[in-house]
Amino acid sequence: MGNFLNVAPTTLLVIVVLILTALAFFMARNRAMAAASGDARKLHSLPNYYGYNAAMMTAIPALFVLAIWLFVQPMLIQNSVISLIPQAAVSEGSSVNLVMSDVRRVANGLTTAVDAGALTADAARDISTANTDIRSLLAESGVALGSEVTAEVLNAAQRYRSMQATGQWLMTAAICAISLIGLFIAMRATTATFRARNLVERFMLALLMIAASLAILTTVGIVFSMLFESINFFSLHPWQDFFLGDKWSPNFRGDSDLSILPLLWGTIYISIIALLVAVPIGLFAAIYLSEYANSKVRAVAKPLLEILAGIPTIVYGLFALLTVGPFLVDLFGRGENGILGVDWMSGATSVLTAGLVMGIMLIPFVSSLSDDIINAVPQSMRDGSFGLGATHSETIRQVVIPAALPGIVGAILLAASRAIGETMIVVLGAGAIARISANPLEAMTTITTRIVSQLTGDTDFASPETLVAFALGLTLFVLTLGLNVVALYIVRKYREQYE
């Protein structure tokens, strides 16, 4: 309820500014038309631009100041109220911040009580702990407080309320004034020779630039959000254990072994199996499609293969868990009842399960990238080879592939980066046991799986067991980014050769 009251006047203020903005648009446009005595040809810009300019001047500075105000005011109030709380009021084992949140709660409680009619506005300002039991008074209007309200806290809360009210009034007045001043300036400037369009277009260009720089902002956000928490993590947990240890066993009572190596091994092992499936199939498919297939086969086969890339990863995850995993268990497990009669595999989740399914997912990725690259090899090189009497396959093996090799390596690296960052297939198909083993039929776990498991459910952002996820995320980000940069570099460098 208190929250609602804090928001409502602000929303109202925004609505007022928006109404003023609309008003400004029509007033300025009419004024421009009047200045040109109704003949738009006499104006520098089209009439609408005068309107846009006035609207811009009315809304932008006002809303900008409003945003800053909303950000700064709580901090200023907090600082001045904190100075009211004597050091003695901060009891043992508590902190100023805890007292401050008490103050805020009491202040909001008083507001709620006033709204509910349990208190008059004057009474809320003047009551003191000496003659009223604040806690039970607030409880009557539905505000539950954890402890008795001390005189200092009540005093601070009353101060908090009065400052907030003053701030609200000041803000309303200031924003309306800024808005009106903007409107006034724009109206003054609106003459027939005023270059309204240039101003409006400069503003639009600024908006476009802001949109473009959002990409950078996202990257900065990614890096910083993970970096800060990773630093927190390394202050709680030795980095030697994280990078060089050999055990992963998080323990929520503390003292866990959190080493990335077993996870990295699982990730790389699964990625290698995935690439062993995807690269031969994808590469041969690309060679066939670009060198042998006629246009009819191409038109059918290429989009069909690419369907595999459009299927969401959760589908592959389910396929791994419920179809491929049980099939592999039938094949390699169950002892006498199994297909091979061996007992090498017990659970459906394993490195092989996840790797195979991830390989299927990566086939179109490898094939369409390689296809582009093979197509970019100039026809003259093939013709030269044919002219010397080479067969088609010899031409491909000895001329086309060597020429396309850097690009193909780039494509494989991009696929590897995909495999390392893939989450749903390994969450459902790879298992949860961190170990370093060479047996592909055992369950192992990966970096992405552990990020998911450490950050879902009950999380405590002060424990290394949760914060380790950010360090894992950062490692993953750096790893995939590195692979991408190298891959893109190779691909670009190669492309330039034949252009």
């Binding site: 369009r197 639009m204 260009l205 908006l207 476009l208 630039m209 949109a211 473009a212 720089s213 959002l214 990409a215 950078i216 996202t218 990614i222 959000s225 993970m226 031969p280 199939i281 041969f284 498919a285 066939y288 499609l289 042998y292 595999l308 459009g310 299927i311 969401p312 990863t313 959760i314 589908v315 389910l318 396929f319 419920l322 179809t323 086939i363 179109p364 094939s367 067969t391 396959s393 010899e394 093996r397 991009l414 960052g421 989450t423 749903m424 969450v427 990020i451 998911v452 950050l455 879902t456 459910g457 952002f461 996820a469 950010f470 995320g473 993953l476 980000f477 980014l481 991408n484 893109l488």
Partner: protein
Amino acid sequence: MTDMPNHTTPHNSLLKQDARTVKRNRAETRFKAYGIAAISAGMLMLLILLSTIIGRGTGAFQQTFLTLDVQLLEAKLDKNGNRDLEEIKKVSTFGYAPLMAAAMEAKVAQAGIVTDLKPKELEDILSKDAAAKLRDFVLENTDLIGTSVEFRFLTNSRVDGYVKGRVTRESIANDKNINVAQLDLVDALRADGALEKRFNLAFITGADASDARPEAAGMGVSMIGSLFMMLVVLALALPIGVAASIYLEEFAPKNWITDIIEVNISNLAAVPSIVFGILGLAVFINYMHLPNSAPLVGGLVLTLMTLPTIIISTRASLKSVPPSIRDAALGVGASKMQSVFHHVLPLAAPGILTGTIIGLAQALGETAPLLLIGMVGFIASNPPDGIASGLMDPNSAMPAQIYEWAKRADPAFYERAWGGIIILLVFLVTMNAIAVMLRRRFERRW
């Protein structure tokens, strides 16, 4: 010129190939066969995947129902007889159980089935959700109190599994939820025609259900969650993406800042989706204190993820508008900004739209970031009642709901997970088909 060349037999003739040529031709055939094998392997995988999805998922759209005649006794449901909704609401699902038990016994007697099951066991073949469904029905139709209605009850998931062939008499040996005598009853009721498999609309429109009631779980509420997320993505990613592309393609000077932005965008497109989930958790939830599990947060995260895709495709379609269009606009006195917004952008619009739909389809199927912002692990039981609550209240999303079902212990949920995938794929296929149609319809060669 009298010297005749020395005639020797050629090493190879056109009619008879020598050993080496045979070998080379064989290698050629083999190589080609590898290519065909690779393509067929890819197709085979696709075929297996799709047939698995369809084979295992279609069952979820059908459910086993038992039709019973229920006496809605006034004495039980509305003691005062004044049809006051508030008073009828006071009767909990426990008040409906005896009515169902009576209906069950009547049915068994009427069909002439001999069974030594206790009434409690009789009732157990119905879903644990059945009483609540009956109650909802009565609350909506209070005028039917005091009459006898024919009501279609959901059966227990084990009964459903037995009818669908998932559960067999052998497989329930250690199952406490059902016994062989109950299956005999099911067979008898099936022969009678009261118990039958039919289309289950509730799977598409309904809400998720708890672990004990797989037969009542549906995709509807998570579909609404996905819808709200897509609205957020569309509202943010399209304008921002288009604005960024216009700047980079039409206005940006060639300098190092532009280069950094471009490299950045291509790298962002390849960042693993889970990293965006970490960003969302750290920035939107921990720092900005937006609510956990809210479609708004999911939408924001997916927006950041989809932006690079939209920017890349928008730039491609802006690039494909020939410079002559811009030159002509500038020539008749338009400003640079006017030439872009009045001429280039409308011509590029179909391409931008196509790219946006494909980006949305990608975002719709994405799961990993949603796990980190908490869109799993709870039961999304009620559809939101407005736009604000749709954005801010905890909800699930289609792929997150599928993941949730895949993680549950009861195999009855697996069928629903596959069924959920069919629904998800129908959406994706539709979106992609629209994108392809748009491209076909509006594609212009300059």
